[in-house]
């Protein structure tokens, strides 16, 4: 057992967990933040994406202890009173159906937009599709997710 401390969605969190506890298990089972999902066992599907120190991370592929001292944001922490522009864009573009992959998609999307903005690259449709390599959706055929991310990027730029 190891005591891990981190900041999750702006609040201090501390727990004594088995050493092999995955970050996603810590988030879901210990903190009861169940918006982060597990869709596979091989870090392929991206349903578990959260931000660790501002970067998108698959929380099923990281140990909780490896995030000691980190600043973690989950889907529950993205909205700030009102929905984040990317969340709004997913709603307005019908970018979700069953909702299971959605938190990971949104967390990947906000990270993607931030990275492209920082590096000055253009986030066009081909780039969005390529960046979604690590996120699987079975419902939407991606058409509206791609539209939502492009729209969310515009919304983020103007917010």
């Amino acid at each position: 057992m190891t005591v891990v401390s981190m900041t999750v969605n702006g609040k201090a969190a501390r727990a004594d967990v088995p050493d092999n506890t995955l970050l996603v298990e810590y988030i879901r089972e210990h903190l009861r933040l169940t918006g982060t999902h597990v869709g596979c066992d091989t870090s392929q599907c991206g349903a578990c994406v959260v931000h660790v120190n501002g970067k998108a991370v698959k929380s099923c592929a990281a140990l909780a202890v490896a995030s000691e001292g980190a600043d973690v944001t989950t889907i529950e922490g993205l909205a700030n009173g009102e929905m984040h522009p990317m969340q709004t864009a997913f709603k307005e573009n019908h970018g979700l159906q069953c909702g299971f992959c959605t938190p990971g998609m949104v967390m990947t999307a906000t990270d993607m937009v931030a990275r492209y903005r920082e590096s000055g690259k253009t986030l066009d449709e081909a780039a969005i599709r390529s960046e979604l390599e690590g996120n699987i959706c079975r419902c939407t055929g991606y058409h509206n997710i791609v539209k939502a991310i492009a729209d969310g990027a515009s919304k983020m730029a103007s917010s």
Binding site: T42, L78, H94, F100, T102, T140, G141, H143
Partner: protein
Amino acid sequence: MSEGIGARVLRKEDKRFLIGKGRYTDDIIEQNQAYAAFVRSPHAHAAVKSIDASAAEAMDGVIAVLNGAQLTGDGIGNIICGWGVTSKDGSPMNMGAWSALATDKVRYVGDAVAIVVADSLATARLAAEMVEVDYDVLPVVVNSVDGLSDGAPQLHENAPGNLVFDWELGNEGPTDAALAGAAFTTEMDIVNNRLSPNAMEPRAAIATFNEADDHYTLYTTSQNPHVARLVLSAFYNVAPEHKLRVIAPDVGGGFGSKIYIYPEEIACLWASMKTNRSVKWTSDRTEAFMTDAHGRDHVTHAKIGFDKDHKIVGLKVDTKANLGAYMSLFSSATPTYLYGTLLSGQYNIENIYCNVKAVYTNTVPVDAYRGAGRPEASYVMERMMETAAREMGVDPAELRRKNFVTEFPHQTPVIMAYDSGDFAANQDQAMEAADYAGFEARRAEAASRGKLRGIGFSNYIEACGIAPSAAVGSLGAGVGLWESAEVRVNPVGTIEVLTGSHSHGQGHETTFTQIVAERFGLPTENIQIVHGDTDKVQFGMGTYGSRSGAVGMSAIVKAMDKVEAKVKKIGAHVLEASEDDIIIEDGAVKVKGTDKQMLWHEVGLAAYTAHNIPEGMEPGLKETSFYDPSNFTFPAGCYICEVEVDPETGTTQIVQFVASDDFGTIINPMIVEGQVHGGIAQGIGQALLEGVVYDDSGQLLSASYMDYAMPRAHDLPNYSVHHQSTTCPGNPLGMKGCGEAGAIGSPPAVINAITDAIGNNDLSMPATPAKVWAAIQAAGAKQAAE
């Protein structure tokens, strides 16, 4: 009005999913919860000689290890198939025994042998590894053709030759005669590849036995919680129906795979009673690949004949359908009444004969997956049409058009009576959207870049909105396929609609609300949809077969009819007018031609205070309907796919995908388009990427997302989706159903496009680069030899 029928209303359910507040089964933790893990067979076929759980039982935190002998000893029944199919010789199907936990024999890799219940998931999984099962390994068969061969390993004693049934439809003699007299014939071997449904939320269950009142609660990832309760109680004897509550909360996709009642739910309920703990099980992805019912897996030989004017004279289809190791809940219906009945396609065909042999193999059970039988039928028909057109040297669009059914109703020779459609209109719309006329120029331009460009059609028709109860009953169904709805108007005028349909991505909370808003002129925010809980909704048949619109919403309409009738009586009474003069609009009950009115909430209050309602009328305002459809509905359409193939690598890129669908009345175009997008993506996945692979020893090689090629964003194009609708005469809203069409219509369009590009009709799904490259080489070699 802006929120009524036809409006692109944004989804009411989105917010909770977007802010991480969805409530899926695995998100729930019950008090006193323990965790289950299953001991699963590593062998595809073996006799179970003994099970030694002593090491597992001795571990700290292990509560119980329970096996099949104990399960059957407690009277838990075998898992059944709910649709009886009769062989052509009149004999009933050969259903092999399937115990939730295997007793004497295991028949596929992943077959459950024991359930371990422990204080933590980690302990349960570790303990499951510690259970020692002594197996006597037996020979294995994994595909349907080998399963039927002489000397094949036998799975079930009561199914000699592994034959589940040998079913036929149509008329063989006249079909043979028509084909013998045909001016042109085309014959093909067609394989429909085996798929894994892959809803993103893995299956899960939490079972809680409450000894205080001998009551069970089951949270489960189900598309039809009432059917689950019925089957669990009536057939598996797990709990009596009135002592079992089944809740399917938010469910993360289904695509058919969550219709069935699996061994895990049975075992968790039983284990909860045995241990007096809540028992939770959540599948991991590899377990999902191993145990979720697979789809498709047909091996077919087909022959089609035309007269000298290119009119179809006959079609003969011979199919071997792999059902896996056991018969899943609707496994018998999928390759028969949902397949053979659609073999007339969009065409006038006088003579059709179809023979289907269903076969046991040492693989996971196969059942309905998005489209269920209809994608297989449409793949046979549309590949045959395209290939025949090429062989006869005629335009594939023209050949189809020449053979379209144009008058309705149209009785096919294979049971179905098409009620409406305008196939030429869909084809026109798709051809225009795809700029079919400009294709040859695009092909030439692609050739100048060294690319092979091809175009392919698929004119699908399907039967959904399942289904008229008496009709399916006469064909062997063990259940009726009606739907129920209850419309509750509260004293303050807000409305709750309780439905037996279940939403797991389809957006019912939005579309169902729209039809109520439209009917009574109320804002959608005043309407709530309740579903997925057997304690709240009395009964329902659930969501599959694109039935929630045509059947589920029709039930709501019928219940609203009754509400309206009562409201009008109250209005007439209070407003002192004739009932015939009462109209309901804009959230008020009005007397036509006057300014007299009651606001909607005043009607609600009047009904519940009952101070001033017509004499003899019961107080309250709540009505129920059980709606049984009079026919299937028949969505149809034309899909056109355009591809570019790189001849150096065999890589296929879809450069254009156009869909024109006839779905009848559309409630919310945004949601319908989303359904089509998703269906097409699954169809393209089947055509280009996906395939379940078992090796000869029955080991599942495609058991993770590292091995099973799920379509990703960069594999897929944007879709050009259009509608050209005729009204369905069979239900009050005129709806046809849109959930499966994309998956039914798209695979043949993709393969027809690739085969057009490479000049070789011999190509199977998934059309991987290696296969396409080999087909290009074969075509080149053939050309060189000629």
